[in-house]
């Protein structure tokens, strides 16, 4: 194969507004608007999310026990995360403590979801930029091009392990895509010894595939000075924000259960809170040009699309989680976490990793962790116990939080005495990241587009600034569909369009 194509030729545009629509390789409709000044430099850039269909209203009046199945229909990408957050919200609504077996089964199921989701993002959405190059022709810069470059056997391993993730979810959750097993205080289905052994074998293979992926990331991305240069490019891909994510009692990263930890730009803990306290910590800002709200830290306040200690913008997802935790409970993930920490330290980075493209590295570490944790849980013979359902009480109100692959996911329900939903509030991962995504898009556009010089490769590098968040606008606006995604418009100062790029 020839080497990746990092740069392409730019052409000078006289236009003042650039629109990228729909965003390729991004779930849900979205549009990037880039406004140029008279000199052809970027004055402003926005990621607009144009849809809203009022999913919350649809849920009010339903029985709360339907919500784990209804909310996971928000979209086809991370239904398992919604199912888990929703089930945990029901634990709280019914004041029901799940049994140990139920907790383990839910977490094991969830490791299947992470395996599936992180493999899909890294290999299908991120790898085209890193294997073929950010400026490779769009017709090649996709998963098929990746398979052509790395070979069919590796492609087959990708598909196989992704399907192992699905299979684990299917065994425990009843269905892979829209699971049905979560109940307040437990799960609906016991698993057999045969199923446990089947999951052990798949998990072993996932651990090996995690190792393979970590090595691939080192060989293809970190060993390439052009890519390392992109990752370390502080003009285009670097934001000093707050971070948020779930940790266990020892501050180790956890995706299923724990407290939510927030750290500042230096890595110092700002707050560690219980799910039920989220409204004391998070407030939401609304902008007139988009349907998606922008959460921020209440104690710091909304200061617009600015970063630093005085702006309440925080980041979630793999980068958020790796910055709030003090490591992993499994050996291979912990070892790679230490490699990342040392690499950054050697580069002079103190405290959290603010480099936006490091999302990809963090995601690869999490894939390794998910495989290892899957194996630990599958090896636990007690998970075949029939003790899968705990006691529950009359319904009231409750909050459930888990870490979706894309970041912190919050479900909050209130119920009347008959179990009918009277209030629902959800803050999904992409919404938590929305202000930061906008800030990243603006930063990348400003750094990369100069004097009106644009090219498909340059605009793809702007896209890379938000693609690494693995955003899913579909459930960010609770819009339900999974249609095609993005357009980039470049505008003149008078608002007229210079150039439009889209994938449809």
């Amino acid at each position: 194969m020839t080497g990746p194509i990092i740069n392409d030729a730019t052409v000078k545009t006289k236009e003042k507004k650039i629109t990228i629509d729909p965003i390729t390789r991004l779930e849900g409709h979205g549009k990037i608007e880039i406004f140029l000044d008279d000199a052809g430099n970027v004055a402003n850039a926005y990621l607009q999310v144009p849809e809203l269909r009022g999913f919350e209203r649809f849920c009010i009046g339903r029985h709360v026990q339907e919500l784990p199945v209804l909310t996971n229909r928000l979209c086809g990408v991370c239904p398992a995360a919604h199912h888990i957050a929703s089930t945990k919200a029901l634990d709280a609504v019914f004041n029901a403590e799940p049994t140990e077996t139920a907790k383990k089964l839910r977490e094991l199921f969830y490791m299947g979801q992470y395996t599936h989701s992180h493999i899909a993002h890294f290999y299908a959405l991120a790898a085209p930029d890193f294997v073929l190059g950010p400026s490779a022709p769009a017709s090649k810069r996709n998963v098929l091009g990746v398979v052509d470059a790395v070979g069919v056997p590796i492609g087959a391993e990708v598909i196989k392990h992704r399907s192992y993730g699905q299979k684990v979810q299917e065994i425990i959750g009843g269905r892979a895509t829209h699971p049905v097993f979560g109940l307040p205080g437990g799960v609906s289905k016991q698993i057999s010894e045969e199923e446990r052994l089947q999951m052990v074998e798949m998990a072993k293979s996932c651990v090996e595939f995690g190792k393979f992926t970590v090595k691939l990331f080192h060989d293809v991305v970190l060993a390439n000075k052009d890519y390392l240069g992109l990752i370390l490019n502080q003009d285009a891909y670097y934001l000093e924000t707050y971070y948020m994510g779930m940790v266990d009692k020892n501050n180790k990263s956890n995706f299923y259960d724990g407290d939510i930890r927030v750290v500042d730009q230096t890595g110092k803990q700002v707050v560690k809170f219980k799910p039920s306290e989220y409204l004391d910590i998070i407030a939401e800002h609304v902008e007139p040009w988009t349907y998606m709200k922008m959460p921020y830290l209440k104690s710091v306040g909304w200061k617009g699309f600015e970063v630093g200690p005085s702006s309440g913008i925080y980041r979630v997802g793999p980068l958020g989680r790796i910055n709030v935790c003090e490591g992993y409970t499994t050996p291979l993930a912990q070892a790679e976490y230490e490699v990342l920490a040392k690499t950054m330290k050697d580069l002079g980075v103190k405290g959290p990793v603010h480099h936006t493209l490091a999302f990809h590295w963090a995601r690869v570490i999490e894939l390794q962790y998910a495989g290892e944790r899957m194996l630990e849980l599958a090896n636990d013979k007690s998970i075949t116990s029939d003790d899968i359902r705990g006691a529950f009480n009359p319904p009231t109100e409750g909050v459930g939080i888990c870490e979706a692959p894309r970041g912190t996911l919050i479900h909050h329900y209130a119920s009347d005495k008959d179990g009918i939903c009277t209030k629902i509030n959800m803050i999904v991962a992409t919404t938590n990241n929305y202000a930061a995504i906008n800030t990243s898009v603006k930063q990348a556009a400003k750094a990369l587009i100069k004097n009106g010089e644009v090219s498909p490769g340059l605009l793809n590098k702007v896209e890379m600034a938000f693609r690494c968040y693995d955003p899913c606008n579909s459930c960010g606006t609770h819009a339900l569909n999974g249609g095609p995604a993005l357009e980039v418009n470049v505008h003149r100062k008078d608002g007229s369009i210079v150039k439009t790029l889209s994938n449809f």
């Binding site: 729909p22 965003i23 390729t24 390789r25 991004l26 779930e27 269909r53 009022g54 999913f55 649809f58 209804l70 229909r73 979209c75 086809g76 990408v77 239904p79 899909a120 993002h121 299908a124 959405l125 769009a138 017709s139 996709n142 998963v143 098929l144 398979v147 069919v152 492609g155 087959a156 598909i159 992704r162 399907s163 699905q166 299979k167 892979a176 895509t177 829209h178 339900l480 569909n481 999974g482 249609g483 095609p484 995604a485 993005l486 994938n503 449809f504």
Partner: protein, 166 residues
């Protein structure tokens, strides 16, 4: 993952799979159709439903001889209830576009033919049903599509019973 007996058996069978979201009105028409067909318990035809697309769809269709995918569509000048039969080649233009999680149907199938060609169906037919409402959150089909269901089911079964194209 799958034992040989099952693979051989599947290799002679036809799968009818409905795609869509059951809480977005006509978006769920594919699943409404396949649920009715499932009730008929037709030998040699398996019925499945999927709320996703892309790689999930690829997982579902492997090893079948013939696959019929039923889904909603919205075209510029279509009449709700119209039914179209499309083939893989009709989607070639979209291979590089995007859809759920970046992998659309055409890309997923192209990936399947690259990686597991021997497990790909001999024939795939997409039956697209022109929808009226793909916007509102509702568990009901619109009246127009509801009325068209018998006609749609008859069409799907006719396509399923045609001899497989090599």
């Amino acid at each position: 993952m799958m034992n040989m007996t099952e693979t051989v058996a599947k290799g002679r069978r036809t799968l009818i799979i409905g795609l869509g979201n059951l809480i977005v009105s006509d978006d769920g028409v594919g699943i409404h159709v396949t649920r009715k067909i499932r009730e008929m318990s037709i030998p040699s035809i398996d019925v499945d439903e999927l709320p996703a697309s892309g790689l999930e769809l690829l997982d579902a269709i492997l090893d079948y001889r013939k696959v019929i995918v039923v889904d909603a569509i919205k075209t510029e000048r279509g009449n709700p209830g119209d039914v179209y039969a499309l083939r893989e080649e009709d989607f070639e233009e979209t291979v590089h576009g995007s859809s759920p999680h970046g992998i659309n149907v055409a890309t997923a199938f192209a990936l399947g033919r690259k990686i597991v060609p021997e497990r790909m169906p001999k024939e795939v037919v997409f039956i697209a049903i022109e929808a009226e409402d793909l916007v509102n959150v509702s568990e009901e089909l619109t009246a127009t599509i509801s009325r068209s269901l018998p006609k749609i089911i008859e069409f799907v079964l006719r396509v399923a019973n045609e001899p497989t194209r090599a």
